[in-house]
Amino acid sequence: MLRAARGQQQALSAKRLWNVVVFSVGGVKLAARTEDVEGVSSWAATIPVPSRTPFVQAMLKRDNHVMPVYDLAARLNRVVQGEPLLCLVARHLDGPMAICIDAAMPSLQAVNPASIRPNSSGDIESLGVVTIGAQDVAIVALQRLGRLRQDAVSS
């Protein structure tokens, strides 16, 4: 009975774990909740679009669909690394958005929400920072990526 209760408790805490995709941009390790990621595929040439929105200056065409590109590397003052580069499609509140990430294959991790700390740097929209391996990794709030910047620019 005690064993059963412990098993239930473990199942409950397992349910509470956050599944995150760990990826890198210009060598900087970042994470995102799996439900905020539509998919990862190979990067393709983008179409520049005249724009004054910071870091949104291009679109990516896939079959008969186009989506805006968010230049996360430029936002972080980094240059994406490796060949072939990968495309992470974010489930942004305004619709799907493509982000170019390093060639290093993203991995899946389960993190305990209790271990997530506030991101003191505040340089990117994030859900907090978590230690993965021995590294502090920001969990990027992909759904609202760009909005902090927009607010800062417009205020």
């Binding site: 520049p48 065409k61 305004d94």
Partner: protein, 172 residues
């Protein structure tokens, strides 16, 4: 823009829109065809700043500069598009005139909401034509009718989009 009915292969009446597609640098732009008053070669425009045609003066519009697009306007395919919205006229230099296209209204797509700044004034939407992304120009802005008018806040624009069929196509 030119909106007219036409029949599709199933015999159903569909609303179509006509555009003149032009190229500036690596970008393709669509101008609603109803406002096009003429397309001139460099020899026909001469070296005058403004172009006079049928008694109307068309002041030059440097679209490439306004959009911060790198364009090579010295090539042999350069053309000047004479355009009138009814209120304003302009002579728009382009690198190349691709041609006139008719597309179904449902194939006009709104600019994604992630584009939040001045470009919402510049473009009325976008479309895909022969595998190319074509941005639909807002000629009121191109011809300076919107100068001094504040952009519609993007959240309000989103509400307007949500309230119209444009959110699922039909942005033109």
């Amino acid at each position: 823009m030119s909106l007219r009915g036409r029949h599709n292969s199933a015999g159903t009446l569909v609303e179509a829109a006509s555009f003149l597609v032009v190229r500036l640098g690596v970008n393709y732009f669509a101008l609603p065809a109803t406002g096009v008053r003429g397309v001139l070669t460099q020899e026909e425009t001469g070296h005058e700043e403004a172009v006079t045609a049928a008694g109307t003066v068309y002041q030059p519009v440097n679209l490439a500069e306004r959009l911060s697009v790198v364009a090579k306007l010295s090539g042999s395919e350069r053309r000047t598009v004479l355009y009138s919205t009814g209120q304003s006229q302009g002579a728009i230099a382009v690198e190349q005139v691709v041609g006139l296209i008719d597309i179904e209204r449902k194939d006009c797509l709104p600019l994604p909401s992630q584009f939040q700044k001045d470009e919402r004034d510049w473009f009325g939407g976008m479309l895909l034509h022969q595998d190319q992304l074509v941005l639909i120009l807002n000629l009121s802005w191109v011809l300076g009718e919107l100068s001094g008018v504040a952009s519609v806040p993007v959240r309000l624009a989103e509400q307007l989009v949500e309230a119209t069929p444009a959110s699922v196509g039909g942005a033109c």
